[in-house]
Each structure stands twice: as structure tokens, then as C-alpha cells.
């Protein structure tokens, strides 16, 4: 389970970083979302992975650490708000700058790609 979990987190982080480096606002937003999923999973695992254990003291002999779950919840809420903001900002950037490149215009070497 640990290997699968770690591989998932790693894969999502690498996808997220790749998408962010695409430097167009839509992939960047997707990349940020991917990165925040990975981060949430990672935070969740910081309380050690276990199955069939209650997160409440006294309900099972071995219990799961409840704190990472609370942290993930907070991180999800904050991440959600931030994503909403960056989507709006990306739309505004598209209208204001006339391009979906994060710098307002694509660098010259990329001009072959027709938008």
C-alpha cells in the first residue's frame, strides 16, 4: 500500500509541475489543482497509513491519527478558494492581455503554434 500511495503522490506532483511549467493559464490552473491533490494525499499520509482504525480515541485498540485528517480538510477548503480565485484571474488575464500565456504573450520561439 505504501508503494502505491507514494507512487500516486509522486506521479501527481510531477504531472502538476509539468503542467505549471507549460506557462499557459489553463494548464497552469490544472497543474496547481493536481499539485494540491498530491499535497493533500501527502498530508494525509503524515499520520501513517492504516486501515480499519477509528479516528476517535477509545473506539478501537489501535487508532488512526485524527490530526492529519483535520489538516487535509483545512487544506482542501483553502485550496478550493485559491483555485476559484486563480480561475477568475486567468479569465481576466485572457481578456486584459489578449493571450492565455502567463507573461501576456508567448515567447517568440513558440509562435509556430497557432492559437
Amino acid at each position: 500500500m505504501e508503494l502505491l500511495y507514494a507512487a500516486c503522490v509522486g506521479l501527481m506532483v510531477s504531472c502538476g509541475v509539468f503542467l505549471i511549467l507549460r506557462a499557459r493559464t489553463f494548464p497552469v490552473v490544472l497543474g496547481l489543482t493536481m499539485l494540491s491533490y498530491a499535497v493533500n494525499l501527502f498530508l494525509f499520509s503524515s499520520g501513517r497509513l492504516s486501515t480499519n482504525q477509528a479516528a476517535v480515541l477509545g473506539y478501537s485498540a489501535e487508532y488512526a491519527d485524527p490530526l492529519p485528517q483535520a489538516l487535509v480538510l483545512t487544506a482542501i477548503v483553502i485550496g478550493f478558494a485559491m483555485t476559484a480565485f486563480v480561475v477568475i484571474l486567468a479569465i481576466r488575464g485572457r481578456t486584459d492581455l489578449g493571450s492565455d500565456h502567463v507573461d501576456g504573450q508567448a515567447p517568440k520561439s513558440n509562435k509556430k503554434v497557432k492559437v
Binding site: S46, L71, F85, A90
Partner: protein
Amino acid sequence: MIQHLPFLPVLLPMLAGVILLIPPFGNSKTSKRVTSVMLSIVAFIAALALLMKVHADGTQVYAIGDWSAPFGIVLVADPLSTLLVCLATLLGVVCVLYASAGDDEKGSFFHPLVHFLILGVSGAFLTGDAFNLFVFFEVLLIASYALLMHGGDKKNTRAALHYVILNLVGSAVFLIALGVLYGVLGTLNMADMALKVAVLQGDDVYLAKIGGLLLLIVFALKGALLPLHLWLPNTYATAMPVVAALFAIMTKVGIYSMMRVYTLIFGNEAGQLSHMAQSWLWWLAIATIVMGAVGVLASKDLRKLVANLVIVSVGTLVALVAVQTAEASAAAIYYLVHSTLVTAALFILADLIARQRGKVADRITAATPVHQPMLLGVCFLIAAVAVIGMPPLSGFIGKVWLLKATLNAEYTFVFWALYLMVSLAVLIAIAKAGSTVFWHHQGKVAENTRQERVHPAQLIALIILISGAPLMSVFAGPLSEYVIGAASQLHDFNSNINLILSGGL
């Protein structure tokens, strides 16, 4: 009431933000402005009251919801954090006052956003919990995103896009760092983390090191340290000047967090991990100072110049943090207060000058003279003398202090030489900018700029900020005593830990 005092600097700005959104106060321009100024003054008074209390009775520890540390979240009002909370709320008062002269109507929700920003900043200063620090960072960031877009144009959108994306990635790194540290240490209370770090063994040491250095990346991004500083000049120069003045405190939040984390958690007592960030910080800080100076010399307009001055001050502060002695921290705290006030004053001055020069705005080139040369000129002179660090103002005291504090650091001769050269560069750049703006004229005062006289509210805001520099040098005695006390408290590992974990009793 009195035992809840440490919570007020967080609670009051939040209430202020909410009150300003609801009808009776949020209806007309005037009612919004009056309420906002009043509420910001109330928050400042609460911060002052907390300062008095901390000065009289020592550090206050406030357990939120009465959940005691390390299980619950605590707010720690020690002399350092309280001083900075006072500074943040003062800056809030000034900016709200300044914007009430008309800037607040260039976009929506200016006043509530300022209060939310102050909430985030005060919370980040006060909190004693690493995850709570993240939450307050996000609060101040989302307010800053919206403020950055306030009254913006195209250039502004681009800078905001960069700033937001960078900070979102920064937040992800912050969470990863916290996850690693929690996984290793099993706690997020900073005092408890410090205890656990000291007894780490085996592979856990390296994991904790990874976590700690990831945190360094985040704080370096917020504080604009060298490889991660490129966002700052554009962001600060395209934001509305009053917003940029308010942002003067935000880089300081990053530096303050560095101070906390690398003196308390990874400080003297941290066993194998003690001072792990020191060698990184020292050289990066020196490089930051040099890059800032290059930026200052290359700046073509006043706002960019001031933004680059912020980078120089960040470098200076981080160098002091890297020395990690109580004396260096004392110098850092004094310099931090000084540089925040002076850069905020300079941003506001740049705005006032730009308004009176018509189309040329704040570009450093010969143009029509400003309408009120005496007022603006004298203010510019005071702020310039302070920021360059010439006697008799606060910059000089800060500079002498910091040179003395770095006397025993490694390779201090490199730092001294570079720092003094940078001071010379800053002196030249500012002297050139000042003489060009105030003495090199072309044509007469344009008719339409005659309307743009300094508004009384703007004048009061400006005077409050400008008077910081002379006051900090007149009252340098009591202030330095307080600051030395704050620094020694910051470095007093055992009493900090005992105080926080016992709930301040």
C-alpha cells in the same frame, strides 16, 4: 476581557472586515471610510494595550478555545510579536486613512480587504502553531491577491497572475514541509517541535532537515530572498502605491517566520540540526543585498526604486537572522520596524509626487515641477536620509547596530565591504532621483495637476509614517532597550518552551 487581550488583534480586524460588508456601514462612501478608519484605530489601540501588558507582565500565552498546548492552538504574545502586531495595525490605520482620500473607490471592497490583510498579518505574528501559521499566511495572501488587483490595469493583471501562481506553488511547498515535519515530530506546536527536534535520531534527522529546508524555501519566497525575489519589483511597482505601502509589512512576515523557526525550532538546542539554515541564509542574504542595489541603480521610476529598496532591506534583515545571536536579532528587529515605516512612506510619497507631475508620473526624468515642492521635498529628504542610513535618523542607528552585530560573523569583511558599497549605491540612486524630480524642470506646473493638492487625510497619513524615522532616533534609548529584551526573549530557549507548554502560567 483582559485575559482575552492577545486574541483581540486577530479578532478586531476580522470583525471590522465583516462590519464593513454589511449595510449600515457599507452603504455610502463616507460611512464606509469613517467606520473603517475608526475600526482600524480601535485595532491599533488594542495592539498597544497588548504591548503595555506584555511589557509589564511578560509574555502572554493564549490558548484558543482553552485547549492547552501542545494539543490546541496557542497564540504567543511575546515582546517581538506584539511589537510587530503594533506595527502592522499602525500601517493599517495609515493606509486606510490615505486611501480614504479617493483611492478606495477605484475598485470594490478596499476597506474590508485591508482589514482582512491585517487580520492575516497579526495572526501570523502571534500564532505559536506551525499549521496555524499556514492558515494565517493564506488569509493574508488571499486578501493581498484581491488588493493587488484593486484599481489595476493590464500590467497589473500580469504581475498579479505571476504573484498568485507563485504563491500557490509556495503554499503547496509549505504544506509538504508541514506534512514532513508532522510525520517526523508528531506535533505542530512550535515549542513542542523544538523539544522533539532536539532528541531526533537516525534517519528522522534527515527527514526533519528536509522539512525545515522546505520551510526555508517558502519563507524565502514570501520574504523575497535572492533566487525567489524576482516577483517583488513588478508586483510592488504595479500595485496601487497605498497597497504597496501596506505590502511593506508582508515581506517582513516571511522574515519574522524565519526568525521564529530557525531560532526556536532549529536553533542552539536542536542537536544535529542546530543552525542548519545559517550558512544558506548568510550568502543568499549578501547576494540579495547586491541584487537589490543593482535594481535600485537601474530603476527608471520612483516606485520601482522603492520596490528594489525593499529587496535591499530584506537582504539586510536575513543577514542578521543568519548571524543568530541575540544582539543581531535585536538589530534586526529595530531595522525591521524602521525599514517598514520608511518604505511605506516612500511608496506613498512616490504616489503623491506622481499625481502632481501629470503624465510623466513617477518616472525619474526632467518634467513639470510638482505643485507643492516644499512639502513633498522635505518629506522626501527625511525619508531619503532615513532609508540611506545617514545620521541623525533611525536608518543610521539601525545601520551602525547591524554592522556591530555582524562583527563576529564568518566572512564578515565581505558583508561589511559589500554592504557599505551598496549603501553608497543607494545614496547615489536616491540623490539622483530626488534632484531630478525636484530640481530638473521642463515647462510650468500643468493646469490640471493643480487640482491634485495633497488631501488632508493623505497628509496625516504621510506625516505619521515620516515621523517614524525621527521618533525612532529620538526615542532610540527606550526602544532599543525594549528591542534587546525582545531579542533575548527570542533566544531564551528554555523559558520560551516552558512558558508556551505550561500555558503562560
